[in-house]
């Protein structure tokens, strides 16, 4: 029997108050750690996917939507732009490269993106199996797609119009898998890549029905535009905005052969000067819209930050309450155990041993609460990851320790120390003779 074991036994001998303190600590620490982890993962994923994309050019609409759809492939496209116009921009001396993207179809919820080989190169993707596409209707699929749909080289499938599962399928045009990409921990893992021409051919031959277009313009898409684009677009654009999709679909019918279209282009600048000039140039002088991923994403984070801050504050309050609970628990226990303390002193315990006994109880409680909280947060993260995978095909990878969690540990221990300080001082100053005589 030593001081450490005595601390443990004292904790377990009052299970109710110990449990209350632990539950409060677990909640507080768990919530903060979960928030830290989730925002770290989202931020990492988002920043990882921006890579060297300085600017995205697409149809007019919400810039955030353009970024979310073209870079992260989690929102509906804003519409189409003319390939000719995009290529003209590519010739600008400030532009180093531009990668065309054509999307809008999907297979079992995974997006089919028509592009060129520069796109996988952007993410330093490797081909794990087979090769990249060489001609129309050959596809290379992302690692996650291959795994989740159990696809292999040589398999064929037909794409569905729209991005949700169960859209109208393009039965005449079957894609054949010629390659499977290795994991790049980027959006590519979730995509089906093919030649731009494939997408053109599918939609050229398809008889576009009205219902299919409605699928394409999902209602969420419109809400999104109305709520966000005002900040960024001049009101003059609004008319254009509301009719953009209608116009666009008609153009598709009438002018399909004459002018080829793409959905967006990922642009890399030659030098930083371009950041100042090009977005403005595109927005003012063309029918296209330019959006800067870095800017839009930091705006998204600052919007999310309000929620995160609120939750963090609540969690901190819970932690403070847990500190109070630890304090009350120790203080009450001490009142009942005054004689015990005096008794231990008469049997040779020094003041410091008893002070350490009390401090240790507070620290053990908060440490246990911290560990439980971390466990709780990892469990939560695992659940959130599953949810994200189901609805966005996004997965969190890695269970790393974030530096802020070190701070969380320090805060938890500080709370434990603070809560046991007053009881410890009382123990230090205990008058053995008086305590025993008052029995």
């Amino acid at each position: 029997m030593n001081i450490f074991r005595l601390s443990l036994r004292n904790m377990t001998s009052r299970p109710l108050s110990t449990t209350l303190s632990l539950v409060l600590l677990t909640l507080g620490v768990g919530m903060i750690a979960l928030l830290l982890q989730v925002s770290r993962h989202i931020q990492e994923q988002m920043e990882n996917n921006i890579r060297e994309i300085d600017m995205v050019v697409g149809a007019k609409g919400s810039p955030l939507q353009l970024i979310l759809s073209a870079v992260y492939h989690i929102d509906a496209p804003t519409g189409n732009i003319s390939l000719q116009e995009a290529e003209q921009l590519q010739k600008n001396r400030l532009v180093e490269s531009g990668i065309p993207l054509s999307y809008g179809d999907s297979y079992k919820g995974y997006r089919i993106v028509g592009t060129n080989h520069q796109y996988p190169a952007l993410y330093e993707a490797t081909v794990a199996n087979g090769r990249l596409w060489q001609k129309s209707f050959e596809v290379a699929i992302g690692a996650t797609v291959a795994k989740n749909l159990s696809l292999k080289i040589g398999d064929t499938f037909t794409g569905a119009h729209g991005l949700a599962e169960g859209g109208e399928t393009h039965e005449d045009h079957a894609y054949q898998i010629v390659g499977i990409l290795g994991y790049s921990n980027s959006v590519l893992d979730q995509l089906i890549l093919t030649a731009t021409e494939s997408v053109w051919e599918v939609h050229h031959h398809e008889d576009h029905e009205e219902s299919a277009h409605e699928d394409h313009d999902e209602s969420a898409h419109e809400d999104h535009e109305e709520s966000t684009h005002e900040d960024h677009e001049k009101s003059a654009h609004e008319d254009h905005e509301e009719s953009a999709h209608g116009d666009h679909e008609e153009e598709m019918h009438e002018a399909h052969d004459e002018s080829k279209e793409i959905t967006a282009m990922l642009v890399k600048f030659r030098n930083p000067m371009a950041m100042v000039q090009l977005p403005r140039l595109v927005n003012e002088n063309t029918n296209m819209q330019a959006a800067v991923p870095a800017y839009e994403i930091s705006r998204l984070f600052s919007l999310m930050g309000v929620g995160v801050d609120t939750l963090s504050t609540i969690a901190l309050v819970i932690m403070a309450v847990s500190g109070l609970s630890v304090f009350i628990s120790l203080y009450n226990a001490l009142k009942d155990r005054q004689y015990e303390m005096a008794l231990m002193r008469t049997y040779g315990a020094t003041r410091w041993q008893l002070v350490w006994l009390v401090l240790q109880e507070g620290l053990l409680l908060t440490l246990a609460g911290f560990l439980l909280g971390i466990l709780f947060s990892r469990l939560g993260l695992w659940l959130v990851s599953g949810l994200m995978k189901a609805s966005y095909h996004y997965e969190f990878s890695g269970w790393a320790w974030v530096p802020e969690e070190g701070w969380l540990l320090a805060i938890a221990l500080a709370i434990g120390l603070l809560a046991s300080l007053l009881p410890a001082i009382r123990v230090f100053r205990i008058n053995i003779s008086k305590t025993l005589a008052d029995a």
Partner: protein, 208 residues
């Protein structure tokens, strides 16, 4: 060898205590009788080094208690003095065996399970090893308190009203046990009490 010399203590100006000198050789017993309020507990606490006298000294085995620093005194008391209180106290969270192991630890001794068993058996509560002390009967609790006092084989056993809450049968049992335990380790035993029933058990008695 235990010796007190002209012990004097005051809590405030109204209550001052002056105690007669006490001198005991190894293995000797002493009963200190006195009415309530005469300073019995104060004397015991002075002799145990729980209180510092205003003047005078307490000496055990050639060590003057109050010359020691507070921490050294704590450790000296843990090693050489066993205390039995009027009401038995234990560490509530621990079983009887663990209480005894804790007292061994606090005195800086290594854990000795055999000694624990031996002491409990000699007090007739060997079967209560795993029991929580507060679940024992009053007589058993008082015996367990004696076990705490003697577990480290102290040179001096001080008992403060160890029998006042016990019936006649248990009273003489406890007195006999205390004497047995003291003689088993060659300790000096001092019992301070107002309990006249103990008079018959001790030859050596003083009245405050």
């Amino acid at each position: 060898m235990f010796k007190t010399q002209s012990l004097f203590f005051t809590y405030n100006q109204q209550t001052a205590f002056r105690f007669p000198d006490i001198e005991l050789a190894a293995g000797e017993n002493l009963l200190v009788l006195g009415e309530s309020g005469i300073g019995k507990t104060t004397l015991l606490h002075l002799m145990a080094g729980l209180l510092r006298p205003k003047s005078g000294s307490v000496e055990l085995m050639g060590t003057v208690l109050h010359d020691l620093s507070s921490a050294r005194l704590d450790s000296f008391r843990g090693k050489h003095i066993g205390l039995v209180f009027q009401r038995p106290y234990f560490v509530q969270a621990l079983s009887l065996q663990e209480n005894l192991a804790l007292v061994q630890f606090l005195a800086g001794k290594s854990r000795d399970k055999n000694r624990i068993k031996e002491v409990l058996n000699s007090l007739g509560i060997g079967h209560k090893l795993q029991e929580k002390p507060h679940r024992l009967s009053q007589g058993e609790q008082q015996r367990a308190a004696i076990a705490l006092a003697v577990i480290n084989s102290p040179q001096l056993i001080l008992a403060d009203e160890p029998t006042s809450s016990l019936d006649d049968k248990n009273c003489s049992k406890v007195a006999i046990l205390l004497k047995e335990q003291a003689s088993a380790t060659g300790a000096q035993l001092i019992i301070i009490t107002h309990d006249q029933r103990l008079k018959d058990q001790f030859q050596n008695a003083i009245t405050l």
